[in-house]
Symmetry: D2
Subunit: 294 residues, 4 copies
């Protein structure tokens, strides 16, 4: 019934020694993900270091990823910029590239003047001008601005807004969104750490950093939930807490990239101002990872 559901990986953008996008590393990664049970990939999101990419880099990432990936696997383009004009430009490019939807992070720099009215006007404008369906993206840990459930429910009534990735971790907010929107509106958990409770309360999937390195396990949480095997689902989710924290709240993108290197994908270093993990941190990450997938 929903246009989008299931588990997505918000993929990192690999950089070579020269600091430029390392396309053959990306190709290798995409090939691996394409054999996983993931429903799709998100390109140029938070884990893709969108904030550190130039506009033309994002555009090339959209088309390159779409080309490399089988059509059955969806590509969602991260397009949210601070200005409406830049966001709309990217939305159009994402459509040209054949992407399936756009994930639009809210602007946040002028937060003192971005009340619900301003944000409603912004997203209305964006949705109207977007050739692709729009998925809202709430990431208050980075933006320091939360999309309230009241706002999200109003936005969900607009024809071209089809879902939300909520990374707030606020389960009550997720419930309020589920309660206040049509069933066709797709609610995605923004982190594995609250995937299972979100599914229980009505989410239809997740967009999960951890799905980059452990796609089977992430998908298995949803499969177990759907099959009514709650105890197994719960046990699996609890087992993933520590590694999930390592590649999200604790070490962020740098941690995720280091973990990719550890499992044979191409991770590499993030761009400045992000810092790669120290050797000691990499050792600790290795220990956490080996405990998880033993």
């Amino acid at each position: 019934m929903q246009m989008f559901k299931g588990i997505y990986a918000p993929i990192p953008t690999p950089f070579g020694a020269n600091g430029e996008i390392y396309w053959s590393g990306l190709k290798r990664n995409i090939s691996w993900w394409s054999k996983s049970p993931l429903a799709g990939l998100v390109v140029a999101g938070t884990n893709g270091e969108a904030a550190l990419l130039d506009e033309d880099e994002k555009i090339r990432l959209f088309s390159y990823t779409r080309e490399q990936l089988p059509a059955a696997c969806k590509v969602v383009a991260g397009t949210g910029c601070e200005s409406a004009r830049a966001t709309t430009r990217l939305n159009r490019e994402a459509a040209k590239s054949g992407c399936d939807a756009v994930l639009v992070l809210n602007p946040s720099y002028y937060k003192g003047n971005l009340n619900d009215t301003a944000l409603f006007n912004y997203y209305s404008h964006i949705a109207e001008a977007s050739p692709l369906p729009v998925i809202l993206y709430n990431m208050p840990r980075n933006t320091a601005l939360n999309l309230s459930s009241t706002l999200v429910c109003r936005l969900a009534e607009l024809p071209n807004i089809v879902g939300i990735k909520d990374s707030s971790g606020n389960i009550v907010q997720i419930e309020e969104i589920v309660k206040g929107t049509e069933q066709s509106f797709s609610v995605f958990a923004g982190s594995t750490s609250f995937l299972l409770p979100a599914l229980l309360m009505g989410a239809v999937g997740g967009t999960l950093a951890l799905a980059n390195i452990l796609p089977e396990q992430c998908v298995r949480i949803q499969t177990l939930f759907t099959a009514g095997q709650l105890d197994e689902a719960k046990e699996l989710q609890l087992n993933l807490l520590e590694i999930n924290s390592a590649v999200t709240s604790r070490w962020g993108v740098a941690g995720l990239k280091a973990a990719m290197d550890l499992i044979g994908l191409f991770g590499g270093n993030p761009r400045l101002p992000l810092q790669p993990l120290t050797e000691a941190e990499k050792e600790e990450l290795k220990t956490i990872l080996s405990k998880t997938v033993q």
Copy 2:
């Protein structure tokens, strides 16, 4: 296996027109709750206006409630003060009154110096001196100080600390506590708004403002969950969101007391600085309540 589980109501303290505790109103309320399926009552918690009660009033509330209530129904005494000495005094009085456990809110005024080490020392001291089992109480919306899952897991290893009421609403934190403690440690959801996801992830009950006015419905969420009727449990929980918000985050104790008046219990006015609801707010509350229990 856990010493405490099920649904508890953190009862309001009724005041008469003279501002003093209105004992016969309390008696009436307790009589009603005693016929409900609640596992127990919490006295002198946040909803009991503990911060606005004198020490001797709290002591009388402990013994009065215990006397009025059948032994099968547990009484948990809210005893957390800013100082260790005041908290321990109340813990001893609660024991003398025959209460079953103490619920100990963390001190928070000197938050700049209350790091995990200081809080660990504090609770160790409290637990050692308490004749009754100690339940931790995390209420960051009021204290502006969160008890981290790391701290809680360390405290859970102390012999006399048997559980936590976590009102943070942070489901990931609840998962981390479940994951990092023995099964005998009781995790309680602190609000109906996240009761069901908390139960799914390992909580064994809830201490819920809403249970004061809708005890059957609150208990029914847990019953449905235990019976595996997830869809019904989810639907019920979503239906309770609005009334729960009205008597907690939105209008607080004053809202809860007004709702009690509406259903025939004795609610009355809160103490200053809390303000009773305006007539318009009472009308709105009435509408919300009638939609819920129709």
Copy 3:
């Protein structure tokens, strides 16, 4: 023109080895302060561990301090509790003890329902019932609730509210209060770290933790300012930044007490949950102090 001005020390409450108030230590301290140029003492404030004192202890502190101190030196009683009734009880006791004013910290536990209207009603009620002039006390670092300049300016119009101790450190807020109140309303800086800029913008004094150990230097900042010796005032204030931070934001009451021990006053240990400084911290404090007063 203002009823209160100049530099006040918010004195710590000394405790003996048995954890009870150590009256002869307090006597010795008061004797020393009484020979300083301080305008007065504040009893049972944040540095007096008010939150950790029993009601009867506060009452005895009010009368004991008033008795020990020459009449020329004012005594301001810290009386703010969470409930209006407890605050008013203390206000009356402070009056009986011969104190000169009461310093009333705002309630903060039920912060979600303490909007400007509720706080205005609360303080109106308190002021009307208080036999002594009321000084507002804004301490958002501890209460997590700021008294807005709009609220303060409205409260300043009430006949019995004569000033504010603002510990927010928000210099713009202090300007707005100065701008929006009569000149007879006394604005006090709540910390030495912003005493000089506050004086420049219209404050008439300070209530300063540092004044407990360095009263001459604190008073000298105001004297230099009044004499127009701004460069010297500025240099002195900058020199006091590090020691001030040590006995306030960094180590709090425990740091202040340790510093008192170092200069020959009776400091001793704070009450639980506050922790005394470690030996290493005391050594560091000693170094900071010796750099300051060389």
Copy 4:
């Protein structure tokens, strides 16, 4: 002794009806500012809607402003982006355009991983690669990330970092920076609301939204301060509080642009997601402005 001092206006970027930069409006504005006593202009800062400008627009603004303005009046280019590579690109373009310095806002999106070490590494890298002197820019109200005084003092030791615009309004932090840096390091107040106290504590100027519309008054605060006329300086600053709040914290860039329209400059509308003032808000602004400049 400092390379930069005095009052700067962080100029808005005017947009025409088609949403593009309205160059002739900008020309008119610059001509007006060039006749004022301002020390210089800041281009593409927060008030210039930098976050809503494309890279090539910023570059054209740098050169256009530099060309239009007499050489005696400095031009500081706002260049801070989230990525080091984009910031360095702009720094080089600013140098080519003949600008005098760059104002570098810290990255903030990945705030969870931007501790002092990461920020030190970032700014070291930026400073080394910048052909122009670097001025730090701390704007925590927008970035939700504060540059600590400890970090700023360490950065001030790098040869190419010559000052800071601190918009935090934290006067203690400004004191700590003054205390911990050489006198050649220029500290600028980031808002008129704390200009005078900042000057008293060692700041050498201000970069002030209000200076766009009231340059004489802003400069006069500093002139009065330097001349030792503190009472007049204080009175002037207090009189500017309300209009300053209107064009900064209250209505932001939209308020500033509306005020420019009111005094005969070209203000116009901000870009989406910013919203122009409503007619009622414009009326209120008009009243505030007329009270200020009567």
